[in-house]
C-alpha cells in the first residue's frame, strides 16, 4: 500500500529527471532534430575523453587503496585495542562527514598552497626549501579525496571487526597460530564484508567527484566529473554533458555490480 506513494515520489524526483536527461543525451547540441548518437560517438572517438576516463578510474582506485591502508589499521585499533578513547577517535574521524564539502576542500587549499601552513612547517623543520608546489597537482586531488572518503571505510570496517567475536581470535591463538597468521587466516577474511562495503562506498562516489579535482587539482585535476560540470555550466553543451553523465552512470553501476558480486563470496 505504502509503496505506491513512495514509488511516485521516487519517480517524480529521481527517475523522471533522469529520463529527461537520458532523452537529452540523444539530442544534438547543434540543434538538429531527431535522435542522434553523436554525443556518445564523440566521447568514444576522442582519446582525450578515454584518457580522462582512465585517469578517473585510476584516481578512484588510488584513493580506495590509500583509504584502505589508512582505514584498516585505524578501525582495527579502535575495535580491538582501545577501550576508553574509542569514542573520541570516532568523533575525530567522523568530523569530515559533518563538515561542509567546500569548507573542507578550501581548508586543504589553504593548508597545501605555496606559502601555506604545510609549507611553513616543512620549511621550518628543513625538510623542504622554498615553495611546495603540491597544490594543483594530482597528489593534492588524491589527498583531498582520501580525506573526504576514508571515514566511510573506517566505519564499515570498524563495524565488521566490532561484530566479530573475540573468542575467534583466541581460538586461533590457542590452536597455535601466530598473531600474523591469526590476522591473515581469521581476522581479515571475517572482516572482508566490511572491507568490501568500504571499497564500494569509497570507489563508487569517487568516480563522480568534481569538487576536489577542480579546486585542489586545477588544470591537473580534470576528470570525468569536472568535464560534465564544464559541459553544463561553462560550455552549455547540455546534451553532450548528459551523454557523459550516462557513461559515468554506467561505469558506476558496473563497478557496483562487480564489487557486490565479489562481496557475495564473503557473505555468511
Amino acid at each position: 500500500m505504502l509503496t505506491w506513494p513512495a514509488m511516485a515520489v521516487l519517480f517524480v524526483f529521481a527517475i523522471f529527471p533522469l529520463l529527461i536527461m537520458f532523452v537529452d543525451s540523444f539530442k544534438s547540441d547543434s540543434g538538429a532534430a531527431g535522435i542522434v548518437f553523436t554525443n556518445y560517438a564523440r566521447f568514444f572517438s576522442k582519446s582525450t575523453y578515454l584518457k580522462l576516463t582512465g585517469r578517473t578510474v585510476f584516481n578512484s582506485v588510488l584513493v580506495t587503496v590509500i583509504s584502505l591502508l589508512i582505514s584498516y589499521p585505524l578501525a582495527y585499533i579502535m575495535a580491538k585495542k582501545l577501550k576508553g578513547m574509542k569514542n573520541i577517535i570516532m568523533v575525530l574521524i567522523i568530523i569530515p562527514f559533518f563538515t561542509n564539502q567546500l569548507v573542507r576542500v578550501y581548508s586543504w587549499l589553504i593548508f597545501l598552497q605555496d606559502g601555506g601552513i604545510l609549507q611553513s612547517i616543512l620549511n621550518s623543520v628543513g625538510l623542504v626549501h622554498g615553495s611546495l608546489g603540491i597544490l594543483y597537482t594530482k597528489a593534492a586531488v588524491i589527498i583531498g579525496l582520501v580525506h573526504a572518503f576514508f571515514p566511510y571505510m573506517v566505519i564499515t570496517i570498524y563495524m565488521a571487526l566490532e561484530r566479530m567475536d573475540n573468542s575467534l581470535i583466541e581460538a586461533s591463538t590457542c590452536l597455535g597460530a601466530s598473531t600474523f597468521t591469526t590476522f591473515r587466516k581469521v581476522i581479515f577474511p571475517i572482516s572482508m564484508p566490511g572491507v568490501i562495503s568500504g571499497i564500494m562506498i569509497v570507489f563508487v562516489p569517487c568516480l563522480g567527484t568534481f569538487v576536489e579535482p577542480r579546486i585542489l587539482g586545477g588544470v591537473n585535476g580534470t576528470v570525468i566529473g569536472t568535464v560534465i560540470e564544464d559541459q553544463f555550466f561553462e560550455i552549455y553543451g547540455w546534451n553532450f554533458g548528459a551523454a557523459i553523465a550516462f557513461i559515468l552512470l554506467a561505469m558506476v553501476l558496473l563497478s557496483m555490480a562487480a564489487i557486490s558480486k565479489w562481496g557475495k563470496r564473503y557473505e555468511e
Binding site: S167, E170, A171, G176, P189, I190
Partner: protein
Amino acid sequence: MSTVVLKGLVKKYGQNTVVKGIDLTAEDGKLVSILGPSGCGKTTTLRMIAGFEKTDGGEVYFDDKPMGKVPVNKRNIGMVFQSYALFPHMTVFDNIAYGLCQRKIKPDEINKRVEEIMKLVHMEEYSKRKPKELSGGQQQRVALARALVIKPDVLLLDECLSALDKKLRVEMQVELRRILEETGVTTFFVTHDQEEAMTLSDKIVVMNNGAIEQVGTPYEVYEKPNSRFVAGFLGKANFFEGKVTNVNSDEKYVVLENEKGTVAIPAEKAKIGENALYAVRPEKMRISKEPKTGALKGTIEHITYSGNISTCNINCGGESILCEVTNDMISERPQRGDKVFVTWDSASSVKIEV
C-alpha cells in the same frame, strides 16, 4: 597429555582480587570440574591456565614445566569456548585442520587425523559444511574435535554445554565422557551446573568468591561437604545449627538449642556445649504418619509434585525442613496439611566445621 598443577594462582583486576591463590592438581588424563556460582573466578582461572590472562601471583605447571613465560600459541592447549568460536568462513574440515596446519604436519597426516577425529565425534558426514549449517550440538562436536585433534596437553572447556537445551545437554555429557575417555586428555571443565559437574568429573573443585572451598570426588563433595556453601551449592540441604545441649550416643541423636528453640536430630559426633552445624540432604529424609523414636514431628506446609519425587516443606516446630520423598506408591501420597514424622539415619547428618 600432562599433569597440570596450579600453585597459588592469583589474579587482580585493579583493586579487585578475583582469584585468591588457587592450588590445584589435575592428574594426567583426569577430568577436573571447576564449579561455582557466576562471577566466582572460574573463567579467569581457566584463562590463566590457557595463558590469555597474566597471573599476578603463582604459577601454572604442565608436567613440572612452568608455563609463565610460554605464550598461548606455544602451550599446546585445546579450548572449547562457550560460543564455540568456530571460524565461520571455513568448512568443518578446515576448522578442525586449522591447529594441525599451524604445526607443520604433512597434508596426508592432517587428512588422516582430521578424519579420525571426525569419526570420533560422529561428524564425518559434515566435513564440507560451514558452521552456520550445523545445529548447536553439531557445532559443539566440531569445536571439541578441533580442540582435540592437536593432541593437547590439556583440554579447557568453559561452560561449553550451557548453550544447549536440556535434553541435548544431557546427551552431550554422555558423549563428552566417552570422547574424553577415548582420548585420555587431562581436562578442566568449568561449569556452574552442579549436576553436570557431578556426572562428568573425576574431581570437583568448588569455588566461591575467588577461592577454593572444597576439592573432592563428586561423591565426597556431595555427601561430605566441608562448608555451608558447598552443601548449599551442590544440591539442596537442610541446616541444623545450635548449641549442643544433649548427646545420646546409643540412640544417636543430638539436641541443639538455637533462637528458634530446641530440636533433637539424628546425628553423631557432637560434644555437649559446642556450637554445631549439621547439613542433611532432603532425599535422605523419610516421612511417615506413625510416630517413631527420634523423629521430628511436623506439618506439611507445601508440597511440590514432580513425577518421580515429591518435595515437601515441613514445619517442625519452627524449623522448616525440605524433604524429598520418592513417589513409590500411587496411594498414600503425602498431602498438604498432613501431620508427619520426619526421620533419617544419623550418618546422613553431615557435621560441618564452624
